[in-house]
């Protein structure tokens, strides 16, 4: 009797934990924390590197900044293929040229390599998350974009739960905090959550944002239902949203 229940429970746990959405949630958590670590380590690196090459960190992203820093012969900067090359050369020209002892330089270089390695790991995970969403939830992937899709699954806690949400909940997903605040202080409740970052919405005026967010949320809700049945109807849904946007813009 107990043995039977144990077996059923084991099978269910295994099935649940091996599901794509749980993997996505875990990997996404790792990516978030990894990014924080990368930022932290970069701040440490800059304590020294910023004296050697001031202001370069304002121009380059972390990854290129590290690649630039590790380049031994800075006159060969063209080998890095940076679009910011001109600006960097300008700064290097003005640079008073603080030199760092060789043993210190070894340390900062090592730190730099560590950061690049973490960035590499993070990019690999990003890619894996992307693939998992694409393979399993193609409508959500195409309509919401992979980043927002991932965040939505994360907030809902599982794909199953997300797929049962009505459009109104999807529209507000991620705004829970500001939502409660608005209720508490009698402010107007927010009209959009993380959907606000969607490329089709982000550049609209506030008034239009709310309208499109509503339409987008309803299409995502439909897309999710289709994902449950493993049907791809995303093209059709995206076209409908685009029609809606052009209607509004008329």
């Amino acid at each position: 009797m107990k043995q039977e229940i144990l077996q059923i429970t084991k099978n269910k746990v295994k099935e649940k934990l091996e599901k794509a959405d749980q993997k996505i949630i875990n990997l996404s958590l790792i990516v978030e924390k990894l990014q924080l670590k990368i930022n932290e380590l970069t701040e440490l690196l800059k304590i020294i590197s910023d004296q050697e090459y001031p202001s370069i960190d304002q121009i380059l992203g972390i990854k290129d900044y590290c690649r630039f820093y590790l380049l031994e012969d800075k006159t060969k900067i063209n080998t890095l293929n940076l679009k910011e090359e001109k600006d960097i050369l300008k700064i290097l020209n003005y640079n008073i040229g603080i030199t760092v002892e060789k043993d210190v330089k070894e340390i900062t270089n090592k730190l730099c390599e560590n950061i690049l390695e973490l960035i590499d790991t993070k990019e690999k995970i990003d890619l894996k998350i992307d693939t998992l969403i694409k393979e399993n939830y193609i409508n959500l992937y195409n309509i919401a974009t992979p980043k927002i899709a991932c965040k939505m699954i994360e907030i809902a806690g599982s794909f199953e739960r997300l797929s049962r949400y009505p459009a109104s909940t999807i529209q507000l997903l991620g705004s829970e905090k500001s939502f409660f605040k608005a209720l508490k202080f009698n402010k107007r409740t927010p009209k959009y959550g993380i959907l606000y970052n969607h490329p089709l919405i982000i550049n609209l005026t506030n008034k239009k944002k709310a309208k499109i967010a509503r339409s987008l949320a309803s299409k995502i809700a439909l897309g999710l239902k289709a994902d449950v049945e493993k049907k791809d109807i995303s093209k059709d849904l995206i076209n409908k949203i685009k029609t809606k946007i052009s209607e509004i813009n008329e």
Partner: protein, 199 residues
């Protein structure tokens, strides 16, 4: 009081009858232990059967298991991560039976449970905590059976806790007689422990 529970120097312990092992039961980690400190004593007898809703990784259940020398406890939780750990505990402990399930939908695990219980203990932070208890008590609690409910007030409403308690108690009165109720401070903030008897 149950023979396996030992109170000594303001602390609570349970003794496992088979292994004779004595373990301290931390009221800061277990609402049932906090309840004992606060004077809500779940007078569980050695041959009682207990249904535990919101078993998590089984911290509290492991002590309930010590108390039930001739009885058993079913532990239900929705989280597969917690359940993985509860499974390991259950493999090593005869009288713990773990079920992965959503306590909002007791019909989904109904067929796995073929008996009625003397006790339901519930520790779930959800908006509809009272409703969950009623649903499960309907199916699984004996007539005059007891329920120990830990209410997490902030899970229900951010606003008026007094009103939250009244609302929940009103819902519970449909099915239960309220025997005792205590706030769990300082062990748990915003928690209320309620002992109920099925009508």
């Amino acid at each position: 009081m149950n023979k396996q529970i030992i109170l000594k120097n303001q602390k609570i312990f349970t003794k496992n009858k088979l292994t004779e092992k004595v373990r301290e039961w931390d009221p800061n980690r277990s609402k049932v232990a906090a309840g004992i400190k606060k004077g809500i004593m779940p007078n569980i007898k050695e041959n009682d059967t207990v249904l535990y809703l919101g078993a998590a990784e089984g911290y509290t259940i492991s002590y309930i298991s010590d108390i039930l020398t001739k009885g058993k406890v079913y532990g239900i939780d929705i989280s597969p991560y917690s359940m993985q750990k509860l499974l390991i505990l259950s493999e090593n402990t005869e009288n713990i039976i773990p079920i992965l399930g959503d306590c909002n939908k007791p019909f989904e695990y109904e067929k796995m449970i073929s008996e009625k219980f003397d006790y339901i203990i519930q520790d779930i932070a959800q908006k509809n905590q009272a409703e969950i208890l009623i649903k499960n008590a309907d199916l699984f609690l004996k007539e005059k059976g007891l329920a120990l409910l830990s209410l997490k007030l902030s899970a229900i409403s951010q606003k008026n806790h007094k009103k939250t308690i009244d609302d929940q108690i009103n819902i519970l009165r449909n099915k239960f007689k309220i025997i005792n109720q205590k706030r769990l401070d300082p062990f748990e903030k915003n928690h209320m422990l309620i002992l109920l008897e099925k009508k």
